[in-house]
Structure formats: C-alpha cells, structure tokens
Symmetry: C2
C-alpha cells in the first residue's frame, strides 16, 4: 500500500486476519501505518524510481490516498505490476475536471459546473447559473456578492481534500485566490442541499460489487464530523437509487476496491428528494469507518478482498444504528488520559486511534457506537469524541 496514513493503518489491521503480507511505502517511520506494519519502505511516492523499487515483489499495489502521479501508475502497470484501482479509474478521483466530464458522459446527476479560466469567467459562470445570458453584463461581479448565481464554489481540479482546495466565492477578489496555484479551476454551483450522504461500494476486478447502506455525513467547517448509518429517514427508493448510482459509477469507471460517492441530498423542482454527486474517493473513506464495528464486513476488509480479487464479504449492517464521530486533536497532547473516562462511561464504545501526534483540529482518530436508539447512539459517540478532544470535561 502506498501511503502511511490511518487508512493504511486500518487496512493492515483488516488484512492481518486474512494472512496478508502487507508492505507499506511511507513518508516517515512515524506515519500512522508505519508504526504498526512490519515491512515498511520509507520513501517519496512522487519519485518513480522509489515506487518501482517498492513495487518489486508485490503481487498488487493499492493506495491510502489519491496523490500518486497518474503517469507513475501507468509506468508501474507497464512494468507488469497490477495497480488497483488502476490509473484509468483513479484519475477520476485525482482530477475533479476529469471526474465531472465522465459523470456528465454517463448521465450521473451533478451540480452544474464548468472549468473556468479567470475571475471574469467565474462571473460569467455565475450569471449562467442564474439564467443570465452571456451578454454585456457577463464577466461583471455584482457589488454585494449576492444574486446572479453567487456565491459559487471553486475547486482546484487536483490536490484538494477535507475542504482544502475549495473556495466559496462572492467577489472578483475572492475568485482570484484559487487561480494562484496554477492548477485548472472547476466552478460549481453552490447546491442548496438538505444534507450530505455517502454511497459506499466495493468492486473487484472480475466485476463483483457490494453496496453498503447509504449513510448521512454531518460536516462541520468542511470536515466530516459524524456519520450515521443508515441515513435517518432516507426512503428505500432514494437509498436504492443512490446505491445503484454508486455501483454504476464503479462499473463505468472500472473501479477496483472501495469507492465512496459523496452525495448532496436536494429537493428537485417538484420538491421531491433527489441526489447529486459531490465527490468521489477511490480508497477506504471516512464515511465508511462505521463499518469496522457496524457492518458484517468492514470497508477495509472488503477493500483488501477486492484488491486481491477475492470474493467480497457481506456489507450488511450488524446493528440498527451505527454512528461514527471523528476525534480531532485538541489542546491536550495526551489523549490517552481520556481513555479512563470514556471506557468506564461506555463499555460498548469502540475507539480507533491513529497513533498521530495531536495538533489542534487534526483528525487523530474516530469512535464508533451502535445500538437500537439513535439518539443514545449519537450522544455516546459525540460525548466520547468531545471528551477525547478535550471539549467536554464533564
């Protein structure tokens, strides 16, 4: 696995019972996964020679993140190393422009969007959203930053995650920032969504696929805070539509492994619930962490099985409700002191820490809770995550 973050750490954990010999390419020996894996190569995934040396002797390569250059992945494939997901699939999770173009081509519902070239082009895009034709006013920004399709969302097509590389802009000045990186910029309408959902599926090379229950992802400051499985109040019809959409995307893009399809739940013109695709991630994903304790087969176990072209495990839930809450770093560097309180308060609590140094706001772990009473399950998860962070002292 390329990348030593927590996804690699938890994938290794899931691979141990399968007897998998797991080899890691990590930036440093202190990385989350490097702390717990036997065979670790320290090196830079951006360097092709490093990747090639790492891949020697591997049966298959997979990833903890989407940042390995597409051309390097093609080179590994040319060397005869199976790369899963392959570069032709992974590019859709690496490049938001490629992703949107492909989703348009297969008819997947998306927010309105367009690659934009400069702030004036952003204003034209915004005017278009509002139904304004490209006339004399096109390219002009309103003084108050409202109306005319504003605000709009700008994203660099590569390199963003967890709210980084994403801007909500209302003015020419704000719209200038995203262009500074020299990376193509994608403009998207700001969707008036009801909530965020995620449809997680896993697909294997021979085309078997499984779909997990659709979950609700509650974001705080652009970062996933809580995931509720299954999404409360989601109709069976819309849930099935979301799962089918995710399975179709996995198939059309030839994804191998775990695919997270992040969705906006909106109301359509008739006021009925509908979905739009927000983002794709081709690896185990934060919105699937609940599966470690809440599903028969976790996303990590199924990712390993898919990458090895083994039959996939049952994705069904083991509990009525499972809630995942992310643990962010707080002011106290030693979060382990909080274990005493959290474990004593809730003997059913499942803690998943990543072995990371605590920095304020950094994702350093998550907790899972499950049970029959959603309010109770949510409260337990929120309490534990808050206590570990230090924002709840009780």
């Amino acid at each position: 696995m390329v990348g030593g973050g927590q996804l690699a750490r938890m994938t290794h954990e899931a691979g141990i019972p399968l007897g998998i010999k797991f080899k890691l390419l990590s930036d440093t020996p202190q990385d989350s996964a490097a702390q717990v894996v036997s065979e670790v190569v320290i090196g830079d995934y951006r360097d092709l020679d490093t990747l090639r040396a790492f891949a020697r002797g591997c049966d298959v390569i997979t990833f903890d993140h989407e940042h390995v250059p597409t051309e390097h992945l093609r080179a590994l494939e040319a060397d005869g190393i199976p790369v899963r997901p392959g570069p032709a699939a992974l590019v859709h999770a690496q490049d938001k422009g490629v992703m949107r173009a492909k989703l348009d081509a297969i008819g997947a519902p998306c927010p309105r969007h367009r690659i934009v070239t400069d702030p004036a082009d952003v204003a034209r895009f915004a005017a278009g959203l509002a139904g304004g034709a490209a006339g004399p006013d096109a390219g002009q920004w309103p003084d108050d930053g409202a109306g005319g399709g504003l605000p709009v969302v700008l994203k660099t097509v590569r390199g963003g995650y967890d709210g980084k590389g994403v801007w909500l802009v209302r003015s020419s000045k704000e719209a200038a920032e995203p262009f500074r990186a020299g990376v193509p910029v994608l403009a998207e309408e700001k969707v008036p969504f009801v909530r965020e959902l995620a449809a997680n599926v896993v697909r294997s090379p021979h085309g078997q696929a499984v779909a997990y229950p659709v979950v609700e992802s509650v974001q705080v400051n652009g970062v996933c805070d809580t995931v509720i499985a299954p999404a409360p109040g989601l109709s069976a019809e819309l849930s099935a539509r979301a799962q089918q959409l995710a399975l179709r995307i996995a198939d059309e893009l030839d994804v191998v492994g775990h695919l997270a399809v992040e969705l906006f739940e909106i109301r359509d013109a008739a006021g009925e619930p509908a979905i739009l695709v927000n983002e794709l991630a081709m690896r185990p994903h934060n919105s699937g962490h609940w599966t470690q304790d809440g599903a028969i087969t976790s996303q990590f176990a199924n990712h390993v099985r898919a990458v090895l072209d083994l039959p996939l495990g049952d994705p069904r839930p083991r509990a009525t409700w499972t809630v995942m809450a992310n643990v962010l770093g707080g002011d106290y560097p030693d979060m382990y002191a909080a274990y005493l309180h959290c474990m004593a308060r809730d003997p059913q609590l499942k803690i998943h820490m990543y072995g990371k140094d605590v920095k304020p706001g950094r994702k350093v772990g998550h907790v899972n809770t499950y049970g029959d009473d959603l309010a109770d399950v949510r409260e337990r998860a929120a309490h534990a995550a808050g206590y570990l962070r230090g924002t709840i002292t009780e």
Copy 2:
C-alpha cells in the same frame, strides 16, 4: 509481548485501534506475530539478559505463552517492570501441581489428583480412586488395565499444551513414559465428563473483571476443534456458577489479563450437572477466539485493556450463536487457494489465518461464524475449516 505466536498476532491486531505501540519478543522473524508487528526483537525468552534488554522502555510486559521461567519474571519485576499477569499468578498456569494445590486451597472443584513419584505410585493412586485402601495390593497393576480406577491421566506439571505432556495410562509400562522427562508428574482421575466447557474472564490490576458467556469446547484428538458460544443447553444456574468460579479464581490468584478456565461438565452423585476445573490459561485462549466476531469486546481487546489497567469492555455476545472452528494444516501448502471457494460460499464467514507454514495437523488459523440458527452456524464453520484444510473438496 513475549512470544511471537498467533495470540500475539491477534493481540497486536486488537491493540492497533487503541493506538498502542506494541513491541514483540519473537524467536524468529517468520513467527506469526513477527510478520505483522513493526517493532520486533528476535531473541530467546529463556535468556534473562535478552528479556531484560527487551523490557527496557516497555511500560508493561505480557505474554503469548506460559513458558517464560518464573524466576526471570521475578527478576523483571525486581527491575521495576510491571509484568502482567505477574509471576505469582502465572505460576498457576505454568505448573499444574501448584495450580491443583491452590484450587484445592480455595475449594474449587477439581478431578481427584495427586503428585506421583513412579509407576507403582500411579497404581496406588488408581487403587485409591476405586476406593481401595493402601493395602497389600497397592502398587500392583491389574493385568487387563481396567478397573481399580484405571485408566488414569498423567501430566507433567510443566511444559504441556494441546495434549502434549498428557498421557492416559492403563499399565505399568504406559505409566513409565511420563517420568522420563525428569519433571514432576501429576496423576488425575479420568473424569467421565459429558462435555468440555470454558469460562473466560478478564481482570485488571485494580480488580475490575468481566466474564464472557460460558462456551462449549469440542475436542478432537486432544485438540480443540470447535467452540460454541454460548454452550448449548447450559442452564443459567450452572453458567452463572461457572462464571463465578472463574471470577473467583482470577481474584484469588490475582490474575491480570485474560484467564481461561477449562472445565469438565459432569453429572454429580445426584445426576445433576456440575463442573470440575480441568486447566487454567492466563493469556488469550483458543476458547475465546469466537469473541473477535461474536462479542462486543474481544478477548484480545480486553486483554490489552487489562494489561494497561484501562476500564474493560463489554463482554456480551453480539449474536445468538457464534461458532469458532480451528483450521488445521492439511496436505496442501497453499491454503489461500481455498479462499475463493470459502468466501464465495459464505460472505459472512470470518477467516483468521496466522501466516504460518502449513504442516499437517498444525493449527494455522480459525474461522468464526454467527447467526440465529445453531445448526446452520455450525455447518458453515465446519465446512469452511474443512475446506481450508483440504478434507472437504465439495
């Protein structure tokens, strides 16, 4: 953790989510746990200098097996290293003579037993079982090896496991063998048991303890083949009595960590179900492997929590029935080829392989299944274990 076997492997797996930095003392780099742990010291646990060097920098030491010499454990304690379970507790799992004497002292029900000095003494012990007084015939073996309390069970007080170091003897000639090792020999009556049970508990240094449901352990050729959780048909009364006995033993012996109390279920003089203590193990145990997929908190997670003096997790079951079946090595060295069949046949199957080379009869893994229909759950576990071994080809 001292010892690189599968128990260490699975303890590491359970420690990863807690952010535990796990260090291993292993005989070879190929050992089951050494394959999956980052920080591995290769060395001989029988050598005190090796143990001392290994223990330096550890917050606490625990064990994958009971073979570390008691005096070495005392030396580590004298060095100020917390050893959990401590030598004063662990000796009861290391020395069957010490164990029986202690269980007698606390009034725990045991098979009748006595340390014996030679084959003639074994015959006297057998005659005593049959109610024969120590008279002229004492020390004489009957020609047919029957009657007079025969056969009896002989065990070397140290060094045995999985049927090794245990003999069922009917004659003077058979009784000579156990004495050849030069280790004290314990004689026990051969109990006409109905079945074998195990009561697993975990206890922490500050005295908190949890009890898992009592399980039935089905032995084949002296080796555990299948574990059924909870033990079918066990009355609530006898189940509670077994749990209370295990908790009392853990407390009286000052056990820290997981304690497996292997039990015989017998019929008492009135024909009522009763229990006798067969063996003790102070570490995660084969009879608790079902907890990985069948309990809220696994024996491995709770062992880690106990050893670190953290509050213990909920031991209750997550399914009506959970069945564990051991996978023994068969004639085919590559058991992974069988994954295709087993995973496709049963998407709910939980496979736990140890990364060991396959040798016929060697424990190389186990499978867990769970559900509401015991017959189905047993069949699925037995099929998978048999198929992985190669004895079922379907």
